[in-house]
Structure formats: structure tokens, C-alpha cells
């Protein structure tokens, strides 16, 4: 049985009568990257805020390291690094000065922790530039540096690539992967960008309108995507008989008189074409169709896709 670092049971958050998060059950395994994928307003940030004790759940339970978060905030949160929404720092201070404040509050014993964190995200140590003069990308990098500065075992990162340029995105992706692979960190990351999640996450939770629609490993999710061989030919009824008699195959769908889909990818396409042609059928088209992760996402979210 996998060891869950984060586990929620029927986690719900209501604002008035509106449910922002509805009976959410997520399971984040140790040493893996869990991608929480959903459109804007799906409930990702609210979920993360509840995991960090920034907002109280209306109902449900949060377990982190097997213990309820409620009542264990001090012990639990000190082992977590987080980035929630936009980076929040003191504009009148430099990046180093900002990190020093939080290092002091956390009682970080390592004197090089600030310098190491800044190096990790590619920001200069003891630079004179004030936070108010930072670009959006620099602010985001500083927020990531703050999240990793105290060497936490668990990272909760809400849209960490927001505001980064393509090179910055690749760098952040690379060091998040490194943190997981080389330092054994468990990482919960949210994004509304499917490609980012699919490039980074080991496990994916798809959230929409506050509800978790699916939770699988990336590999399993890709397997679940719909795959088939599509034929366009002169007579689908005759083709169906050939499949049943000659190939002993009944996993196919007849779409109309000329279009047919075979769902068993184990049968060689060339063999089926030869059989159809030898039985006097005209085959005008044959190709393998594979549903992308995005198509899958669209399908299970009701076709709205990702913002």
C-alpha cells in the first residue's frame, strides 16, 4: 500500500451557498510529484489553502504525514514549503532581505540557506535591487526560493510557473524534478496548463468545479485515453463479418455504412486491410487514432477544455 503524505477525506469548502471545493479526496504519495490540474476557478488554490491552514474547511478531513492537520499545524506546516497565488514580499526590501526575514521567523539554522535558495532559482545573493523593482519572473523565482529555503520535505506550489518566460519554465521544471528525484521531496503542484503537468507530474488529479473527476498516475491516465483503428471502407456490415469470422474479433464499433472503428490495437492493420481487399471491399482510409490527454481532459470535464 502506498504511503500517502497528503490525504483528504471529503474535503469541502463553501463560501455562502457556493461550493468552492466539494468532497475532495486526493492522495499524494511520498517522493512523487502530484499535479492538480484544473481550469481557473476549479478549486485548486482553495484546496491548497486548506492544506496550508490558510482557510478552514467547511467539512472533511486533511491528513498530512498520517496526522490530522487540525491541531498539528505547528509541527506539520514547519515541514512544508509553499507558494500560494502571487508572490507576497515586502517591496521596500531586496530579495535577500526578504528571505532573511522569513529565515529568522523560521529559525533556519543554516547560514547559507538564503544564498543556496537564491542560487537554486538563479537570483543574485545580496543584490541591491528592491523587490518592487523585480520583474514578474524574478518575483516568482523569489517565491520559489522562499518555499525551498528551509529544506522542507513537502512542497505545495500553486501555479509556480506563472509569469516565467519559456527558459524560466524549463529551469523551474528541471529543478522541481531534481528536488523530487535527487532529494526525495514530495511535491504537490497545481496548474491550469495541461502540458506542464504532463511533463512534470507522476500522478495527476483532475479537478473541475471543486470536484475531483479523476486521480491516476500519468502512465495510467495515458492508458485510459481512448485508442482505436479507424477504417473508411465500402461496406461496414461485410467488414464486421470479416472481423468476426476471420479475426475472431468483436471489439469494434460501426459508425455508419462506411466508417468502422476497431478497438483492439493488437490486430495488425495491414492484415485487416489485406483481408478486406481480398473480400472485395474498397478501403479508402485506415489510421490509428489516439486521444490526447487534453482530449481526455475535455471529455471528462464535459468538453470545456482548459482555460
Amino acid at each position: 500500500m502506498p504511503e500517502y503524505i497528503i490525504e483528504t477525506k471529503n474535503l469541502t469548502k463553501k463560501y455562502g451557498t457556493q461550493k468552492s471545493v466539494a468532497s475532495l479526496n486526493i492522495h499524494v504519495q511520498k517522493g512523487r510529484i502530484y499535479g492538480l490540474l484544473g481550469r481557473n476557478g476549479a478549486g485548486k488554490t482553495t484546496t491548497m489553502k486548506m492544506l496550508l491552514g490558510l482557510t478552514a474547511p467547511t467539512s472533511g478531513e486533511i491528513k498530512i504525514w498520517g496526522k490530522s492537520l487540525h491541531g498539528n499545524e505547528k509541527k506539520t506546516l514547519s515541514r512544508i514549503g509553499s507558494l500560494i497565488e502571487s508572490p507576497g514580499f515586502y517591496p521596500n526590501l531586496t530579495g535577500t532581505e526578504n528571505l532573511r526575514i522569513f529565515a529568522t521567523l523560521r529559525g533556519v539554522p543554516n547560514n547559507h540557506a538564503i544564498e543556496d535558495a537564491l542560487n537554486l532559482v538563479g537570483l543574485p545573493y545580496k543584490d541591491k535591487k528592491l523587490f518592487s523593482q523585480y520583474s514578474l519572473g524574478m518575483k516568482q523565482r523569489l517565491a520559489i526560493a522562499l518555499a525551498v529555503m528551509h529544506d522542507p520535505e513537502l512542497l505545495i506550489l500553486d501555479e509556480p510557473i506563472n509569469g516565467l518566460d519559456p527558459i524560466g519554465i524549463a529551469e523551474v521544471r528541471s529543478f522541481i524534478r531534481q528536488l523530487c528525484d535527487e532529494r526525495g521531496k514530495t511535491i504537490l503542484i497545481s496548474s491550469h496548463i495541461l502540458s506542464e503537468i504532463s511533463l512534470l507530474a507522476d500522478d495527476i488529479g483532475i479537478i473541475d468545479h471543486g470536484a475531483l473527476l479523476d486521480e491516476e498516475s500519468l502512465a495510467r491516465l495515458e492508458q485510459k485515453s481512448n485508442k482505436h483503428i479507424h477504417f473508411t471502407l465500402s461496406n461496414t456490415a461485410q467488414a464486421a463479418r470479416i472481423l468476426e469470422l476471420q479475426f475472431k474479433e468483436n471489439q469494434f464499433s460501426i459508425l455508419d455504412d462506411h466508417n468502422l472503428q476497431v478497438h483492439n490495437l493488437a490486430i495488425p492493420v495491414s492484415g485487416m486491410i489485406t483481408a478486406f481487399v481480398e473480400n472485395g471491399l474498397e478501403v479508402s482510409e485506415a489510421h490509428t487514432c489516439e486521444e490526447s490527454l487534453e482530449d481526455y481532459f475535455k471529455r471528462i470535464t464535459g468538453g470545456e477544455g482548459i482555460a
Binding site: N40, T55, L77, P87, L105, L146, G163, S195, S198, S292
Partner: protein, 270 residues
């Protein structure tokens, strides 16, 4: 707690609001000196020396400058945690909102006392620059103790206002006006129990300041009643801090998602 107080002093570096405090406190002795220079001869304080300037500065500070400035600075320092969206980083350290607020209030109190010392410094400088007579060590010592002490007690009086303002970001300006009006109202409490327990009068009583020639009080201040009054203000502040909760989603800024949305869409294609 010490860590919170230490970080509060680290945060105020380059804060422009402190400049307002420094200028405001400088205005106190300057205004007293200026008023002596422009009023008619019959209204002038006879034998206007450094002791008189220091005394008038204490009165002006208690009545106008300290209440308004301390509330303004204290409220602003708390409000910035919301507007800079830094509260979420503090709460996830984790530091409880109550502990954070208490630490911040202690730090602001220490800052207020430093303003009291600064007030003494600028009063002395103004006195020397104006060539006032009798700048003696004994007078200087009394002025230093009175101004620092006054800063402390006035701060105790305005702490509840600061705590109330801390619940809603951006309300500190209203709190500052309220503190100013409350300070100015000292003129209306000249006798009886109200003169004794009105918190700003009590603050002056605690530093041994004679208000009779300024607000026309007929009764001498009772230290015991003043202590009860100020103790009550402190108790109110403690209760307010104890019942305070982190305003849910007060740390929430408008979500800046979808930046570069159209360009990102291209990246979604696999």
C-alpha cells in the same frame, strides 16, 4: 516572540511612513516655538526657556502628534501585511495570527518609545538652535524621561484602536483620525473622575505632567486612577488580540492567473 519583534524591525527599512513620523515629531517643538514667536506679547509664556519648550512639546505631543502618528504608523505597518500579501507567508511558517499581531504591537510600542527619544532629541536641537536659556542636564533628563514615558503611555492608549484597525486592511487612516480626535478631547476633561481616568489625561499623570496651565484642570491627577485607566486600555488591547482571527482570505489578492494565456495555449498541444 523575539523573532517576530526582530523581523518587524527588519521590515521597516526604507519605509517612507517612518519619515512622516520623524517629520511629525519634529513639528511638535517647532510649532511650540513658532507659536511663541507669533503670538501677541500678552499671550507669550514669560521667561520662555528650554524647560518651557520641553513642557509645551510634551503637551502638544500628547494632545495631537503622538496619538495620530502612532496610530497611523502602527496601522500602516499592519495594513501592509495585507496589501503586500505577506501574511500568507507568515501564517505558513507557521506563526499564529494572534502571536504575530502581539509581536507586531510590541515592536510598534518599542518604535513609539524610540519616537519619544527622537522627540527629545529634536526638542533639544530646536532649543539650542533657538538659543533658549537654561539648557541644563536636570532639565534635559526630565524632558527625556517625560517624552519617552509619554510615548509609551500614549501608545498604550491607542493600541486598542490599532488592533481594531488591524481587522480590516486600509482602515488605519480612519483610526488615526479617531486617535487625533480622542487626543484633542483631553481639553474637555478638566475635573472630576473623567479628568482622572480619561486615558490621555492619565498618560500625562503617569509622567508627572502638570496640566493645569494647559487645559485648565482644577484637580491634581491621581496616579492610582491613571494606572487603572491605562491598565484597562492595555487589558482591552490584550482581549482584542486574544479574540482576533486571521481574516479569512484577507491575504487573498486578486489572482493573477492566465498571464500570457494565449501564448500558453500553444504549449498545451502535445
Amino acid at each position: 516572540m523575539l523573532r517576530i519583534i526582530k523581523t518587524e524591525f527588519m521590515k521597516i527599512k526604507r519605509y517612507h511612513i517612518l519619515l512622516i513620523g520623524l517629520i511629525g515629531m519634529l513639528c511638535s517643538p517647532l510649532l511650540q516655538l513658532f507659536s511663541q514667536m507669533v503670538v501677541n506679547e500678552e499671550y507669550k509664556t514669560p521667561n520662555f526657556d528650554f524647560a518651557a519648550l520641553a513642557e509645551m512639546t510634551v503637551w502638544g505631543s500628547a494632545q495631537v502628534f503622538m496619538p495620530a502618528l502612532f496610530t497611523l504608523i502602527g496601522g500602516y505597518l499592519i495594513s501592509r501585511e495585507y496589501s503586500d500579501d505577506t501574511l500568507k507567508n507568515i501564517l505558513t511558517v507557521p506563526v499564529s495570527f494572534r502571536k504575530f499581531l502581539a509581536g507586531k504591537l510590541v515592536a510598534i510600542g518599542l518604535l513609539a518609545m524610540l519616537f519619544g527619544v527622537y522627540c527629545f532629541g529634536v526638542t533639544t536641537a530646536v532649543g539650542i538652535a533657538a538659543g533658549l536659556p537654561d539648557i541644563k542636564v536636570s532639565v534635559l533628563a526630565i524632558a527625556l524621561l517625560q517624552m519617552t514615558g509619554l510615548a509609551f503611555w500614549v501608545y498604550i492608549v491607542v493600541v486598542p484602536i490599532i488592533v481594531i484597525c488591524s481587522k480590516r486592511p486600509g482602515t488605519f487612516m480612519g483610526g488615526s483620525i479617531m486617535a487625533f480626535l480622542a487626543g484633542y478631547a483631553i481639553l474637555f476633561f478638566k475635573q472630576g473622575l473623567l479628568r482622572q481616568i480619561y486615558p490621555f489625561s492619565a498618560a500625562l499623570t503617569m509622567i508627572g505632567f502638570d496640566t493645569s496651565s494647559y487645559s485648565g484642570t482644577s484637580d491634581k491627577g491621581s496616579v492610582l486612577l491613571a494606572a487603572v485607566s491605562l491598565g484597562s486600555m492595555l487589558l482591552i488591547a490584550v482581549v482584542l488580540v486574544c479574540i482576533s482571527k486571521a481574516p479569512e482570505d484577507a491575504h487573498k489578492k486578486k489572482k493573477a492567473k492566465g498571464r500570457g494565456g494565449s501564448s500558453r495555449r500553444g504549449q498545451q498541444q502535445r
